[in-house]
């Protein structure tokens, strides 16, 4: 595992997701985003509040990556997907399902797993 300084609010979010208490940031207009943020990227509002992530999301798109970066060499092939959690998008690796069975619209939960190659933490989606 890489021994480096924590990445502030990003690692705080991963801690929370690992504890089953993931959250997003919401502005008064209802735009969702993920930390670290000081301002809503949609409308510029600065009063952002933490809102619980829904327990499940839906896969918007996915790909099976066969040629990885060196940091994922032992993980490949793996499925990286973008899932929508009630308007908040999150990118993660899909596990617990045959890659050929991953499809757009699949309902998934989110957890934190480990990269096989380096042991670093990563966002993991699992079918629910």
């Amino acid at each position: 595992m890489s021994e480096t300084a924590r990445d502030g609010e990003f690692d705080d979010l991963l801690d929370a997701i690992a504890d089953g208490e993931g959250y997003s940031l919401e502005c008064p207009e209802g735009h969702g985003s993920l930390p670290p943020r000081r301002v809503c990227p949609e409308c510029g509002a600065r009063d952002l509040t933490e809102t619980p992530l829904p327990a499940v999301g839906e896969i918007r798109t996915h790909t099976t990556i066969s040629v990885p970066t060196p940091q994922f060499s032992e993980d490949a092939p793996y499925v990286t997907a973008i899932a929508d959690f009630d308007g908040v998008g999150l990118t993660g690796v899909v596990r617990g399902i045959d890659p050929d069975e991953v499809e757009i619209g699949l309902t998934v939960g989110v957890t934190v797993g480990e990269r096989e190659t380096t042991g670093d933490r990563l966002v993991v989606f699992e079918p629910r």
Partner: protein
């Protein structure tokens, strides 16, 4: 905007792992200065595009290094906007001339990539994405475009076979281009049978990893006229757009609105519209990228450019030739050199000096589209015959 193209320079694009970027840039830069016939002492500035110099050569601060390599002692700045780095450099150079801040600007780009090998180059290219939310989820550069391709198919239809036709066309266009990296004819079957890199994209949907450099000498109209330069082609419009960095944060995944905005600005600047365009160089780092670019540039409605190559509409013999140079796909993609190389290709075409000039002999208006990352950056330039 009327920034005259007085000279152009290219190295061959290809795999030259032992050539330093300063040597690549010197070759292209000196070629452009010679082509322009300008006194090097008249050059006011260097605008230089480069993306991964720190990773490939452990070299930052490349602006002055490259100015020195071509024998210039001028203010020199490196522009980094991922794959749109030298598109951004063209924009700055043309804008400086339009604003009267400069009369002669050398603009170019260089990238050395193959010396680090495929795995490290894949790693380097990935950093155009959001490190925290995309790279750490295993996303690669091909992977990001694969996410867009699958989403495109889902939303608008289309198939791997449609994309294969884009690759076949661009390989065909590169055949007579002596500067191109991949001068081999391929078939739709070749493309479909090639290994997958990031499903649904395969090896032939992807541009190669390339070393190379490109340059332009841009001058004001007054300088070109008073010095009797052969500079009848000009950059007449420039636009740039931006978007959310990570795909996960975009309301529509299979679209590049940054390029929509860049195109609208460039067309307005030049006083033209899509119907006036005779030839296009678009940023086809992956086959699906060409499709989305043609939609952003207004040549097709959203969701309708997927069949353009299959129908022959974008071939040299079609209504709107796209990527006559071979595009990034076959000409090669030395990242920081690509945006300028696109303008070089159009300038040669409009000047009657391209191997395809006879096929598009009436061409007077070209458009260059350069995209960074998954088009969180995009530049569009209009190039026209003006004299």
């Amino acid at each position: 905007m009327n920034a005259r193209i007085a000279g152009v320079g290219l190295t061959r694009f290809g795999k030259f792992p032992e050539r330093t970027s300063r040597d690549l840039f010197a070759e292209a830069g000196l070629a452009a200065l010679d082509d322009a016939g300008v006194d090097p002492d008249d050059v006011d500035a260097l605008c230089y595009g480069n993306f991964m110099g720190e990773l490939a050569e452990h070299q930052g601060h490349q602006g002055p290094l490259m100015a020195e390599a071509v024998g210039l002692d001028v203010p020199a700045t490196r522009f980094e906007s991922a794959c749109a780095s030298s598109g951004a450099a063209v924009r700055e150079a043309a804008t400086a001339i339009a604003a009267g801040r400069a009369d002669v600007v050398l603009v170019g780009g260089a990238e050395r990539m193959t010396n680090v090998g495929t795995a490290a180059a894949t790693d380097a290219l990935a950093i155009a994405a959001d490190d925290l939310y995309e790279i750490r989820a295993g996303l690669t550069f091909p992977g990001a475009y694969a996410l867009m391709a699958r989403s495109y198919f889902e939303q608008y239809g289309g198939s791997r076979e449609d994309l294969a036709h884009v690759a076949v066309k661009n390989h065909d266009h590169a055949l007579p281009n002596e500067y191109a990296q991949l001068r081999t004819e391929i078939t739709v079957e070749d493309a479909l049978e090639a290994p997958l890199i990031a499903d649904p994209l395969g090896l032939y949907d992807s541009c190669p990893i390339t070393d190379g450099a490109s340059t332009l000498v841009l001058t004001s109209a007054e300088y070109a006229d008073s010095h009797g330069l052969d500079a009848g082609v000009a950059v007449t419009g420039s636009g740039q757009g931006g978007d959310r960095m990570a795909l996960q944060d975009r309301p529509t995944i299979p679209a590049t609105p940054a390029a929509d905005d860049a195109a609208a600005e460039a067309y307005a600047d030049a006083g033209i519209g899509p119907d006036d365009v005779d030839a296009v160089e678009v940023h086809d780092c992956f086959t699906i990228a060409e499709v989305m670019a043609l939609e952003s540039l207004g040549f097709y409605e959203r969701g309708e450019a997927i069949t353009a190559a299959r129908e022959g509409e974008t071939h040299a013999t079609g209504e709107l030739p796209v990527n006559l140079s071979g595009g990034l796909k076959a000409k090669g993609h030395p990242v920081g050199a690509t945006g300028v190389a696109q303008v070089v290709s159009l300038a040669k075409l409009l000047d009657g000096e391209s191997s395809w000039s006879d096929d598009v002999s009436e061409a007077t208006v070209g458009v260059a589209h350069n995209a960074g990352g998954t088009a969180a950056s995009a530049t569009v330039h209009v190039v026209e015959v003006v004299a």
